[in-house]
Amino acid sequence: MTCWNPKMEMMPKHELDKLQLKHLKALVHRLYDYSPFYHERMEAAGVHPDHIWSLDDVIKLPFMVKRDLREIDPERLLMVSNRELVRYHASSGTTGRPTIVGYTQSDVNNWTESVARGITSAGIGPDDVIQVAYTYGLFTGGLGLHYGAERIGATVVPASTGNSERQLDLIKRLNVTVIAATPSYLMHLGELSEKVGMSIKKDTRLRVGILGAEPWSDGMRDRMYDWLGVKGINIYGTSELSGPLWCECSEQAGMHVWGDLTLAEIVDPDTGERLGPGEKGELVITMLQKEAVPIVRYRTGDITTLEVETCACGRTHPRLGRITGRVDDMLIIRGINVFPSQVEYVLMSNPELGNEFQIVVDRRGALDDILVRVELRPESFIDNVAKLEGLKDRIANRLRNTLMISAEVELVEPGTLPRFEGKAKRVIDKRKL
């Protein structure tokens, strides 16, 4: 079994804890001195860097949430100058605007190192040909896997998303052994391969899938192994933290969270109290060595568990379980985060539409479908089908530009969608995940 960084990955626990504490202390001092935003937060919570003496003292530090990254002025949020920044990435915001994260070269290197360790632990190496079918661009999926795969010396096929027939052709022609994609996309390729008379199991060298960006089950894992001959390896990360960061080793018993780079906690989503190993709660992350943007006790909104026992593979770093849900109403459609508030933002900026809408999510076949049903305002009814279709298309375009996925739009008669007295339940999710 190969380790990318054996000294670090197999470090005895007590040594790893000491290293983490060293990084944590350095981080807290750095933030206090260089981040006006987090300095204020600490002052407000009555916490000073000198109060952090042990790893458990991390609970003294105030939480960070997604809103912080959106609302804080970059001047106050970024801890480095533009000259030190080498990258920006974006992630789905809860309104019309995406959340932006900045990276220094060191941030990019650490991100790459994290991915390199992860995919190596899954048994991938320089002899592999990796097709990266995550979106390249502002989203972190494509470039994250790309850099990690390149770092370990594998051959990268930067396919990005879409053009599925061509993806299959490349997999066959280039002797691709690993695919990095959402699990639903892999299943979709499986379905397509049968339509074009190809067997992924028999006609290709595809053996491993680095699958993430959306929740998936062990049942699906078994199915893709039996049907496609592909070993499904779970990977997790969010743009705010860096991007895709942690994946399962070949034991497939949880995703190793590298302790020198990250301190992970599980908290009760309602009280914020720390929970123990194996207990289900909200994942809270502190990125110990990030330079550009502070990420301290960041509430990811994802529900999962953390195991701290040494893995059967010998690695001592804690393991993240499968994500089993969200704290908020965020949806994941084809690997993309979608907030109902984004849909609301787009719809409300169209004067022709009423106030009521509904989001229907379904999965017929392998891929997710999203339908947005919205009421037409009576005053905006035009006796012209071409113009009504034009209105529908305009809304669909605006949704696609904001959500980064295609949504179908349905104009409905006013008064037909349900009204709510308390909290509106606008999402109907018909998928059985």
Binding site: N384, V385, L388, L411, E413
Partner: protein, 145 residues
């Protein structure tokens, strides 16, 4: 100077979701209001349709439909007389083309010994003049009571 107003026929246009029972609801409203439907067509969009109707009591129909929660508005259309024999439509459309009148939508029915073409055009008054100048007949509102 021709009085054109009387040739503006009030057609009802109703935005309707494409699901079973919707048409029945509209027809039910007409029955309840004791309104007689004289002409009728549906233009389909994706997932919805626009129901267009000519009725004998347009104001009453509009009132009832609105009360029942439908999205309805009036659209002015023209009713042109055609000859009820082969070539009737051709003669009319030839004239319209020569006069440069563009039809947005139309539907027709036969009412022996005549045939009627209901037309929606962009410039109603220009079309009225062209049609009357060509010697053709337009039905006025009194015809639809």
């Amino acid at each position: 100077m021709v009085e054109r107003e009387k040739y503006h026929i009030k057609q009802l246009s109703i935005f309707s979701e494409n699901r079973p029972g919707r048409l029945m609801d509209i027809a039910g409203s007409m029955k309840q209001a004791k309104v007689n439907i004289l002409g009728f067509t549906i233009a389909e969009g994706s997932g919805y349709g626009v129901v267009r109707m000519l009725v004998d009591k347009p104001e009453k129909a509009h009132e009832m439909l609105t009360k029942e929660g439908h999205v309805v508005k009036f659209t002015d259309v023209l009713a042109v007389k055609m000859e009820d024999k082969p070539g009737g439509l051709y003669d009319l459309t030839l004239m319209l083309r020569d006069a440069g009148i563009n039809i947005e939508y139309a539907y027709g029915y036969r009412n022996s010994p005549a045939a009627v073409l209901i037309m929606r055009v962009e410039d109603l008054d220009r079309a009225i003049d062209a049609i009357l100048d060509s010697g053709r007949e337009l039905f006025d509102v009194s015809h639809f009571k």
